[in-house]
């Protein structure tokens, strides 16, 4: 039973208060994109055993979507941050590297 802190309302929420939404920072491909791009966008997911950027919604709370950087092997949460951003902010990358020196973003 995970706990994540909603970066909007500041509530430390149980997993049952939240809804998981899969990989974060997907780039949308619409009309005009190639079959390969579109397939990748819809189906190819990072599935790392380790650091994962993912979407969560504070569904039974303030209703806001946010992002989390989390380890899928230890379930450690490195940071939660705004959903209105195209890639993880530098301080989140730094927080992860402080804990996982060997890790580097793709």
């Amino acid at each position: 039973m995970l706990i994540l802190e909603c970066p909007y309302c500041g509530v430390t929420a149980d997993e049952t208060e939240l809804a998981a939404g899969g990989e974060a920072h997907l780039k949308r491909f619409g009309p005009g994109s190639s079959d390969e791009e579109f397939e990748g966008y819809l189906f190819h997911r990072q599935n790392p055993k380790g650091v994962h950027f993912e979407r969560w919604r504070h569904a039974n709370g303030c209703g806001k979507w946010f992002h989390a950087a989390r380890c899928t092997a230890s379930l450690e949460v490195f940071a939660t941050y705004t959903a209105q951003i195209a890639e993880p902010p530098a301080e989140v990358i730094a927080a992860i590297r402080a804990k996982r020196p060997d890790w580097s973003p793709e």
């Binding site: 039973m1 995970l2 706990i3 994540l4 149980d14 809804a19 939404g21 949308r28 491909f29 619409g30 009309p31 005009g32 994109s33 079959d35 579109f38 819809l42 979407r55 919604r57 569904a59 209703g63 806001k64 979507w65 230890s74 379930l75 450690e76 949460v77 959903a83 209105q84 804990k99």
Partner: protein
């Protein structure tokens, strides 16, 4: 034989007797007894039968680790099988029955005599029962199933209640022995919120039994003082009969509190499951004594040395008159002392160690007890009771040197820390050579959300054994825990204790060391599941070398005690067989719960009507009062139809349809999803959300729209209303409001976050009623409106708002039935009164409430699609002839790119058509249109399927819709649809609009 001693028993109240029955026999015990101690006090040593061989079983332990003495307790709605007699507190009127035997405990025909187990070694069932093939299901399996299983299944509905508690604490301490108490004292002093839980009814664990003294106080006194001190701390909560059941991620943990098991006549819930969110957890869960593996170690009367001591000291019960103690460590000598102090006989102590030099053995020697060093038990004599033991050299192969008569064997193979809670969430173990046990590795603790350790251990659970070390480890763990939780700890001075010097134990995994195969077949590891040393060795011999393979092949540790007694002995045996070190072999995985917890407690109060929330419209009670047959639609209940005076459902539906088509029908459509989409970019947003163009919709108008997911599939549909330039009201399907609203928010927050749009789900703010039929306008006019209701003033697909019969109403002129139809929304609080008013004023038009089935039929008669019928998550709008609702002008909408993929544009996709059987019958639901031949896998080919099928009361025949290969180009063609019996129904492909194809009725 076992009996009650004339005095003693620190936990029993001799002035309060309890009458109870055991297999119908009447017995008497005392308040404070467990069922097991009371049975022993009454001379009842036979308490059960084993799982596989149905061997006689006596109680072997005194606590949660008991594998043998399992009983059914209670009757009818309060009967529960498989309760451990050692943890069932006795109460007046208890009814206990033994299990897994027929016809009786004493005479069990299922018992396998001493020769047969040879033919039933580990995994024998994998090697036989294969021929003839049908015999497994019809002969072998039923016999095996009947002889397996333990207690009887409860027959009646549970009459008890259960509840959940939530607790948020800084430190959860599991275990109320002196380690847990010390940890609570230290943690409590820091001001941290502490919850201390103890699984039994008594505080203090083993300390009082073992004669511990702390700071000059006897253990009992220290425990009482400490409890008092803890009770005085407002930040500390303490609970007995509360077991730490499991530790989960991020400090979530479960505590299982048994509130009334010991007093079932008291009111209130039986069990309470605490869902604790703890910043830090300290497991002070103690240790469990290990049996020794010698031949005949399963005969009733062979018990753990600590259990023998517990029965004498705690309950004033003698398990027998003459007890032989067999051990590899000094602790078991405490049992001999306790027995002597109680006036009982200890004819010999058999110690596998060559040198026995500790303080305790010396004390026994001084009292003249015969201590046999370097010896072991060659075999235990007896059947349903112990008659004696034969002694041999531990180092040899088991040649008996002499025999000692006795009726109890008290064995001790050393102690294993209870590491379950530590391990549940990933804590790792290390092998401790000195004590020959696995203990928690503090460097590899479970980690919480921030990557730091959140579980610590104290006392024997930590692997420490002396009183001083126990208290020291507890204080240190508590200090570390509160500091990790952000509190400042005060240091504690080490107490003075009366620890004696104990000589090292010596690991003994088999007794005697060189026992041959015949003896190994009589050395039990897992008493309940009848797993012996020979079985584990056979598993290793056959290549089941992983500890998990061995466990699964032999069923070692899979009984209801989950290997509490057998695991370490079993894996040590495996290590010997593989010639590997024990740590190399490793352990199996510890999984919650620590001991079994009731299903009732897991479910809590969520049962029956509150199993899941039911959503009710403002008109719900009217439906129920009018005999509606309700169906679940998402979390809603909707009337399917309103049968009158013994009408069948079909008749009721037909009546509702005809009344609506002929005059006037009323539908409670309040469950329809209603979402406000507002803002400067609202129109642009809806253009992305819907396949059609919504930005061109004029205020005052309604438009039907289709919503797809990004994968192209039709997701929801409904009527969009433009309330003003910047405001839209989006209608969704009944089940789809929450999902659609979530979908909108997802795109607005995560993709188009710079668009200025706000959405609100207002589904429950409005009651919505469809007024349908040729007399619909007349009814509205009769009610009276302050806006124009005429065909011109409120045309088809228009809407108006104002006062209607005194109600604040929005009137949408839309139709899902093909009739003249209005959907009227009023504030939810006015919904019921409005509904009543419609019925009162509509009486002259035979206003008839209709349900979902009539709704479905009328829409099918008109060829309108229904999400969930014509769609199933694999259908795109293009399949349904809805091309008119897909904008060709828009560059983009959700699902557009997906619909360009090759399979989506394949001309062979099945397309929507109407279907009519040649004989007028109703096509079966779910029927497929058959095609010639079979595919590469031998399956019959198909060319379409039914999506909706009904008897049309209006047309008096079966009508259906379906998706058919090239369907729209095959109008008039007859194809065959299948039935489950293998026959087919000849069916004609027709236009899906069966009723009023010109739309004259709705457009008046």
């Amino acid at each position: 034989m076992s009996t009650r001693l004339s005095s003693g028993g620190r936990l029993v109240n001799r002035s309060a007797t309890c009458e109870f029955t055991f297999n119908g026999k009447r017995f008497t015990g005392f308040e404070g007894d467990t069922l097991a101690s009371a049975l022993l006090a009454n001379g009842q040593t036979l308490m059960g039968r084993s799982f596989k061989y149905h061997r006689p079983r006596g109680v072997v332990a005194s606590g949660a680790e008991e594998p043998n003495a399992l009983m059914g307790i209670g009757k009818d709605g309060k009967f529960e099988p498989n309760q451990r007699a050692t943890t069932a507190e006795l109460f007046d009127g208890m009814q206990a029955t033994t299990q897994n035997h027929w016809p009786s405990l004493e005479l069990d025909v299922g018992a396998v005599n001493s020769a047969l187990p040879r033919f039933l070694p580990a995994g024998f069932y994998y090697k036989t029962f294969m021929f003839p093939r049908p015999f497994w299901k019809h002969v072998f399996e039923p016999v095996i199933r009947k002889s397996a299983g333990l207690g009887k299944a409860p027959k009646d509905r549970d009459v008890d209640r259960y509840e959940h508690f939530y607790a948020f604490v800084d430190v959860l301490i599991v275990g109320g022995g002196i380690a847990g108490l010390q940890a609570a004292l230290t943690a409590g002093a820091s001001g941290a919120r502490v919850l201390l839980v103890e699984q039994t009814a008594a505080w203090g664990g083993r300390a009082a039994v073992d004669g511990v003294e702390i700071d000059g106080q006897a253990a009992g006194e220290w425990i009482n003082n400490t409890i008092q001190e803890l009770k005085n701390m407002s930040n500390v909560r303490i609970r007995t009969r509360a077991m730490g059941a499991g530790v989960y991620d991020h400090g979530y943990s479960l505590v299982y509190e048994r509130l009334t098991d010991h007093a079932p006549e008291t009111g209130g819930p039986r069990h309470r499951l605490w869902r604790v969110r703890a910043t830090q957890i300290i497991t002070a869960t103690g240790a469990i004594e290990r049996p020794l593996s010698f031949a005949g170690n399963d005969i009733p009367g062979v018990m753990l040395a600590s259990a023998v001591r517990d029965y004498v000291v705690n309950w004033g019960v003698s398990p027998g008159d003459r007890t032989v103690v067999v051990t590899n460590n000094d602790d078991a000598y405490r049992t001999a002392l306790a027995l002597l102090d109680a006036g009982l006989s200890v004819p010999a102590i058999i110690d596998a160690r060559a040198d026995v030099t500790g303080d305790l053995p010396q004390a026994l020697r001084a009292r003249g007890v015969d201590i046999r060093t370097g010896t072991g038990i060659a075999t235990v004599k007896g059947g349903k009771t112990v008659a004696g033991v034969s002694v041999c050299a531990q180092a040899g192969e088991g040649a008996a040197t002499d025999e000692i008569a006795c009726d109890v064997v008290a064995m001790s193979g050393g102690w294993s820390p209870v590491v379950h809670l530590w391990s549940h969430c990933g804590g790792k173990l290390i092998w401790d050579e000195d004590h020959a046990h696995f203990r928690p590795d503090p460097d590899r603790a479970p980690v919480t959300h921030d990557g730091t350790a959140f579980v610590r251990t104290a006392g024997a659970a930590h692997g420490t054994m002396s009183t001083l070390d126990v208290l020291d480890s507890a204080a240190k763990s508590a200090i570390a825990a509160v500091e990790a939780a952000g509190f400042k700890a005060t240091q504690h001075d080490l107490p003075l204790t009366n620890d004696v010097v104990e000589a090292p134990m010596s690991p003994v995994w088999m007794m005697p060391q060189g026992a041959g195969p015949a003896k190994r077949m009589k050395m039990w590891l897992d008493y309940q599941n009848d797993v012996k040393v020979s079985d584990v060795m056979l598993a290793a011999q056959e290549g089941y070398e992983s500890v998990e393979h061995t466990k699964r092949y032999t069923t070692l540790g899979m009984a209801t005690d989950q290997g509490k007694l057998s695991n370490i002995n079993g894996l040590a045996t495996l290590a010997i067989a593989l010639n590997e070190d024990i740590p190399q072999v490793g352990t199996t995985t510890f999984r919650p719960p620590y001991t079994p917890i009731s299903m009732g407690s897991i479910a809590g109060e969520a049962r029956h009507d509150v199993f899941q929330p039911i959503r009710r419209t403002p008109i719900h009670e009217w439906h129920e009062a009018h005999g509606a047959y309700m169906e679940p639609v998402g979390q809603w209940r909707r009337p399917y139809c309103y049968p009158r005076n013994g009408e069948s459902h079909d008749d009721a539906v037909a009546r509702e349809v005809l009344a609506t088509r002929q005059s006037l029908g009323l539908l409670d459509a309040s469950t329809l999803g209603k979402i406000i989409v507002k803002g400067p970019d609202a129109a642009k947003f809806l253009d992305m959300l819907y396949t059609n163009m919504m930005s061109s919709l004029k205020p005052g108008k309604c438009r039907y729209g289709l919503m797809c997911n990004e994968n192209g599939f039709l997701m929801d549909d409904g009527v969009v209303v433009r309330l003003d330039d910047e405001t839209f009201l989006v209608h969704t399907t009944s089940g789809g409001a929450e999902h659609t609203h979530g979908h909108m928010e997802d795109w607005l927050q995560c993709e188009w976050w710079d668009w200025k749009v706000h959405t609100v789900n207002v589904t429950e703010q409005w009651a919505q009623i469809a007024v349908v039929g040729p007399n619909a306008r007349k009814l509205l006019e009769k009610l009276g409106a302050d806006f124009d209701l005429s065909a011109e003033g409120l045309p088809f697909m228009g809407w108006s708002e104002g006062k209607l019969g005194g109600f604040d109403a929005r009137v949408f002129r839309i139709s899902f039935s093909g009739e003249l139809s209005y959907e009227i929304a009023v504030p939810a609080s006015q919904g019921r009164v409005f509904w009543d008013a419609l019925h009162a004023e509509g009486a002259e038009f035979n206003a008839t409430a209709y349900g979902t089935e009539a709704l479905h039929i009328m829409r099918a008669e008109k060829g309108f699609i229904m999400i969930g019928d014509e769609t199933d998550g694999t259908v795109i709008p293009q399949d349904l002839g809805l091309g008119w609702a897909i904008s060709k002008k828009k560059e983009d909408y959700l699902g557009k790119r997906a619909q360009e993929r090759s399979h989506m544009t394949d001309p062979k996709r099945w397309k929507l058509v109407g279907l009519e059987t040649l004989d007028g019958s109703v096509l079966p639901d779910g029927s497929y249109a058959v095609a010639d031949g079979t595919n590469a896998n031998g399956q019959g080919n198909t060319q379409g399927r039914v999506t909706s099928t009904y008897h049309s009361p209006t047309l008096g025949k079966g009508i259906a819709m379906g998706l058919v290969l090239n369907g729209p180009d095959r109008m008039g063609e007859t194809i065959q649809f299948n039935k489950v019996d293998g026959s087919t129904v000849a069916t004609k492909i027709v236009n899906p609009v069966f009723y009023d194809p010109e739309g004259e009725k709705q457009n008046v």
